[in-house]
Symmetry: C2
Subunit: 320 residues, 2 copies
């Protein structure tokens, strides 16, 4: 098993990402501060390259591969941002990439993945097992599998977003981070250990998939069926064996929000901050909005994880 990554690994990942990932801006809004009573700092990973924080982890992992691995190339399975992240990182690092995506993946995501120069292998979501396909491709062609969250380099890379926020904003009292498999939250926890020892950390997941909260409170990783939620980036079935212990060690609590709360937060992002944020990217802010009275007068960070959403779907969600 891989060793747990450390706060130093997050700093090393930040060095690797310099000049490749954007140092995304931190947005503020007087209106949001007025409505929440807190002083809120939005870390805008929806403005990251390929539209989500996932680029940080994928690039970090790929940039650490040995020459032989680079030449053979990488494989990943994902219907979401991890696919595009691996494809873009591979293009930058000049390695072949194969992405295993379901036949019914949104065309825009398939097009974006192909646009980054990756090879896309389709599969049937009902009858085939993507992990088996990925493993078979890896074995047959000597490809290195890049997991979406449970990998030390991926976790360290994702942590660089929070690290930048801690560097740019002094004295944060709390940070809200979305939670799927836990890569971003675990990375943020490592960043906080390094750079913000007094900042409380909160994970936020969809109410329909509260495995993270149950795992956190019980001390054992809970597995669930794929949850039914609009937060498609958080439809994971369980935390990782690496992400879980880091989260348990440093995070204060895990909260859940409903899809309706996600849509409300999405509307505030559009109307007040003029930002397009995908449903998963609304998790952290939705939780802060509900819990605002507990954070009155505090300096609170909100990690906005991504902005990749089909426009037709976005329009449907925005319309009341």
């Amino acid at each position: 098993m891989n060793p747990l990554p450390s706060p130093a690994d997050v700093r090393a990942a930040a060095e690797r990402l310099r000049g490749h990932a954007h140092r995304t801006p931190v947005a503020t809004s007087r209106r949001v501060d007025g409505e929440t009573g807190a002083c809120v700092f939005f870390k805008c990973e929806n403005l990251q390259r390929m539209g989500a924080f996932k680029f940080r982890g994928a690039f970090t992992a790929l940039s650490r591969l040995a020459d032989a691995q680079r030449r053979a190339g990488v494989v990943a399975y994902s219907s979401g941002n991890h696919a595009q992240a691996v494809a873009l990182a591979a293009r930058i690092l000049d390695m072949p990439a194969t992405i295993v995506m379901p036949h019914d993946a949104p065309r825009s995501k398939v097009a974006a993945t192909l646009g980054y120069g990756a090879r896309v292998v389709g599969y049937d979501r009902v009858t085939e097992d993507r992990e088996r396909i990925g493993a078979a491709l890896a074995a047959e062609h000597g490809l290195t599998l890049v997991p979406p969250y449970d990998h030390p380099d991926v976790i360290a890379g994702q942590g660089t977003a929070a690290l930048e926020l801690f560097e740019d904003v002094d004295g944060l009292d709390a940070l809200f981070v979305c939670l799927g498999g836990g890569g971003l939250l675990a990375g943020s926890a490592l960043a906080a250990e390094a750079a913000a020892p007094t900042c409380r950390l909160f994970g936020v997941e969809p109410a329909a998939g509260d495995d993270g909260q149950r795992s956190f409170r019980s001390g054992e990783i809970v597995h669930i069926p794929t949850p039914d939620t609009i937060a498609d980036g958080a439809q994971t079935q369980h935390l990782g064996t690496l992400t879980f212990p880091i989260i348990r060690r440093r995070v204060t609590d895990i909260h859940t929000v409903t899809d309706a709360e996600l849509v409300d937060a999405m509307r505030v992002f559009a109307s007040t901050l003029k930002m397009v944020v995908e449903p998963t990217g609304c998790l952290a802010f939705a939780a802060l909005r509900r819990l605002a009275p507990e954070f009155a007068g505090q300096r609170v960070g909100v990690l906005v994880s991504g902005g990749n959403v089909d426009l037709d779907r976005y329009a449907t969600l925005l319309a009341r």
Copy 2:
């Protein structure tokens, strides 16, 4: 008649606005650069206070009033961003503000204007004349009327957006600016005279309301009926007596774009730049997208004028 403002007035306005207006960010996108062949710099006035550049002109004008005028207060007529701009500037400067708005103005705009502490006076768009109501209120209560574009301080204030862009981005070859009454374009022209003498300037208006283009080419201010376009901030009927000569002196040409081109640009803003931009704010980019081959390899500024659009309307426009 008021004298024409000068480039020095724009610099003076920038000083007045310091600490009150946001210095808005300049956004770039590798994808947009790849698709246009140009190197494009978006000046994001949709992220300005109250969501549009109009705050710059209104605050500049109000901040220059004499004490007696401040005490009596200001009046403006507008169903759009100028209303909110005057209301917010008046609140900051602690003066009373009265806004004349049609009974059928979008509720969100009425609410925002009231939220800034202004008094709203309604009128019937069909049977009543807003200019007469404004003049009557001004005469009766000694209020100072703040026109939306044809005023030297308003023009100078609007020019500060382009001035910031010229300061932040060296060597722009061209700048695209939306055109309604001409306040933003004339102000940008003054800023260019001061700070970017070799940058070519282009105004962009809706095809349905091409009075600016016809005026520019004929040398006489052309009046038209209210044009039918989704660019509600550019539904003006004629250029101003102050804005026109400045535009004629410095601008290279005026282009027009269709509503369909505005929607296409709006979708690119949402999907690629993750930004909410109102239809009028899409004018400049829509023109650049069509004319891109002429600007290959050039450094091109695009003024994104605002982001205030009712979300339901926005959703309808985004959906195909």
